[in-house]
């Protein structure tokens, strides 16, 4: 009985992994005002399939996967062809998660206080 269950589970899992599951998700541009290149593949030298202006990039896209060099495999619309886009240009908050940036309320220092820092605005919201 246990063996049968294992076989059923194995078949179920392998099907789930191999099937292409496109998910509609929110897309946010990392910065605006620049065209976005859409590529045929995630690898170096992949041909550009399309260039889209940031104004025309949809706020919701269809997502399949992210490559090991952070290229997202997406479709701009459910019926559009699949393309790859750089993760440095497009954020997918529901997929990548949102990093909660904290504030050290009582510390007297923050970025850029003493030596040269990563940034230069600092400090927490005063209460």
């Amino acid at each position: 009985m246990k063996q049968l269950l294992f076989v059923v589970m194995a078949v179920f899992l392998s099907t789930a992994v191999s099937a292409e599951t496109w998910t509609e998700t929110e897309a946010k541009l990392v910065f605006t005002g620049m065209d976005i290149n859409l590529y045929e593949g995630p690898e170096r030298g992949a041909a550009k399939k399309k260039i889209i202006s940031s104004d025309n990039f949809p706020s919701k896209i269809w997502y399949l996967e992210t490559s090991k060099n952070r290229m997202h495999h997406i479709r701009l619309g459910a019926e559009d062809e699949a393309v790859w886009v750089k993760g440095a240009r497009v954020k997918l908050p529901e997929i990548e998660g949102v990093v909660a940036i904290q504030c050290e309320r009582n510390a007297n220092k923050a970025t850029g206080f003493s030596g040269r820092g990563l940034g230069n605005r600092s400090q927490c919201k005063g209460k």
């Binding site: 990392v30 910065f31 005002g33 620049m34 995630p42 690898e43 170096r44 090991k68 060099n69 952070r70 290229m71 750089k86 993760g87 440095a88 240009r89 954020k91 990093v99 909660a100 940036i101 904290q102 504030c103 050290e104 309320r105 009582n106 510390a107 007297n108 220092k109 923050a110 970025t111 850029g112 206080f113 003493s114 030596g115 040269r116 820092g117 990563l118 940034g119 230069n120 605005r121 600092s122 400090q123 927490c124 919201k125 005063g126 209460k127």
Partner: protein
């Protein structure tokens, strides 16, 4: 008011001195060379620079960092891992005698600093908000770049301040402004204008340079430069989320002016006449933007990568060692998170029920067990909880159980110790401690009010007068706090 004239005279006189070049001048329009083709590491003449080691300076820097923070993490795992990344960057970078060391400061906010000695301090939160080694590599490479290019604030101040101050004095005397404005300017002083208003302009240029060289260095070390955008987005998120408060220390005036806040409270805080405040706002506007906007900065970095390193942007990201290091230090990171949550509760909740106190006390006890038993970060939160419960004796005990540096805790903890000693009727001990701590940390502003107040209670008039005078001379812009 002749602000354009002031700017012109400033630029002209600085150039005419022959001691500075246009590339040293502030980032104003035509002087912005960040779009110049080519890799920064290849264009920059590192051979023109002299790097010197100063053991004493390294120790002073380390002490300053501890003084102004919640302490270093007394655990080697994360520091050794970060050091291995930096070593890789240093090895493949320009050949210099620099051997920077990485220290991990306990702080949940994003942050990283390079001290003039070349040592790098990063906040432990980098391991919370990064998700691969490439992002950490950018932060370290960026910081190391500041050391490589010698972005040492004191160097620039030493080199340029006399010329700027002289130029400003001339410019002000030649403007057609009325006598009141001139008087107001004298009250604030052109020297302080230079420090609070002009130096931040230089910082923008320095950050741009360090961004570009940082990219060069991380690529040479084998990392994917596109992850720098992800790392910078944390800075942007930090900027977006939190407003600036106004500590009466460096750049405080500039921060107030950023908000265009010339309300009575602000003017009083900085000892400014309303006329001076208005003048400074206009002066600041004449010099344009002070800080790099994170969005613009990310865009610049991205364009630089696309132009110089498009191929490297396809490299696989490095997760393995990062995940291992974070996993090994999971206990510390989790306990620090809990300590931070605890502090937030103490700050945000005015009325804490008995049941809630019992719950958070139990959490606080957990944070000071195991490998974090003597960490400043966890002990500090527990101590604050005890102080909130009115148990200053137990709060002080927590400080005594913290691992220390030459017998001294971070400045903020020592300040708490002085306060709690005073509250438990130990004014003489508190006074003795503020003197010891003040001397050890070379008297930052925050210890003077304690020394003056306690001196008035248990010290001599002579001592109090000396503290007042010393404080006023050292921190003239904050002299209200020296009374």
């Amino acid at each position: 008011m002749g602000f354009k004239n002031i700017a012109k005279v400033l630029l002209l006189s600085a150039t005419l001195t022959g001691c500075v070049t246009t590339s040293d001048l502030p980032f104003i329009g035509a002087y912005d060379t960040s779009d110049k083709e080519g890799r920064f590491v290849e264009l920059y003449q590192f051979s023109d620079l002299t790097y010197t080691f100063d053991e004493e300076k390294i120790e002073t820097d380390r002490r300053v960092m501890i003084r102004d923070s919640k302490g270093l993490i007394p655990d080697d795992n994360l520091a050794e891992y970060a050091q291995s990344i930096l070593d890789r960057i240093v090895q493949t970078g320009p050949n210099t005698p620099l051997k920077p060391k990485v220290h991990i400061i306990a702080s949940v906010a994003p942050g990283a600093y390079t001290m003039p000695s070349g040592d790098i301090f990063i906040h432990h939160s980098i391991f919370d908000y990064s998700d691969n080694e490439d992002q950490i590599a950018f932060i370290l490479a960026h910081e190391y770049s500041h050391a490589l290019i010698q972005h040492n604030r004191s160097d620039i101040i030493d080199k340029l301040r006399p010329y700027i101050v002289t130029a400003l004095d001339i410019a002000v005397s030649q403007t057609d402004s009325d006598d009141q404005t001139k008087k107001a300017l004298k009250v604030y002083g052109t020297d302080l204008i230079t420090r609070d208003l002009l130096m931040p302009v230089w910082e923008r240029k320095k950050e741009d340079e360090a961004d570009r060289l940082g990219i060069d260095l991380m690529v040479a070390a084998g990392y994917n430069p596109n992850e720098s955008i992800k790392a910078l987005s944390h800075v942007k998120a930090y900027d977006d989320t939190f407003e600036a408060i106004h500590p009466v220390e460096r750049n405080a005036l500039e921060k107030a002016l950023l908000k265009n806040d010339t309300s009575d409270a602000e003017i009083k805080k900085f000892n400014l006449g309303s006329l001076t405040a208005k003048f400074l706002v206009e002066f600041q506007n004449a010099f344009g933007n002070r800080h790099p906007d994170p969005q613009e900065r990310m865009k610049k970095v991205f364009l630089y990568i696309e132009r110089e390193y498009e191929d490297a942007g396809y490299r696989e990201l490095s997760h393995l060692d990062f995940n291992r290091a974070v996993f090994q230090s999971e206990e510390i990171l989790n306990k620090y998170k809990k300590s931070h949550d605890l502090e937030l509760i103490l700050v945000n909740e005015e009325n804490i029920s008995t049941a809630k106190f019992a719950e958070i006390t139990s959490s606080a006890r957990w944070t000071v067990t195991g490998s974090t038993v003597d960490h400043a970060y966890t002990r500090q939160a527990f101590a604050k909880l005890r102080a909130r419960q009115g148990r200053f004796d137990l709060a002080l005990q927590n400080l005594d159980l913290t691992s220390n540096d030459d017998g001294f805790l971070p400045g903020l903890m020592e300040k708490n110790r002085i306060d709690w000693l005073e509250r438990t009727g130990e004014a003489e001990k508190a006074y003795a401690r503020v003197k010891e701590v003040g001397n050890y940390y070379e008297w930052p502003l925050r210890f003077y009010p304690d020394a003056i107040r306690l001196g008035q209670r248990v010290g001599t008039k002579k001592e109090v007068s000396a503290y007042k005078l010393e404080c006023t001379l050292k921190y003239p812009q904050s002299r209200d706090l020296c009374q």
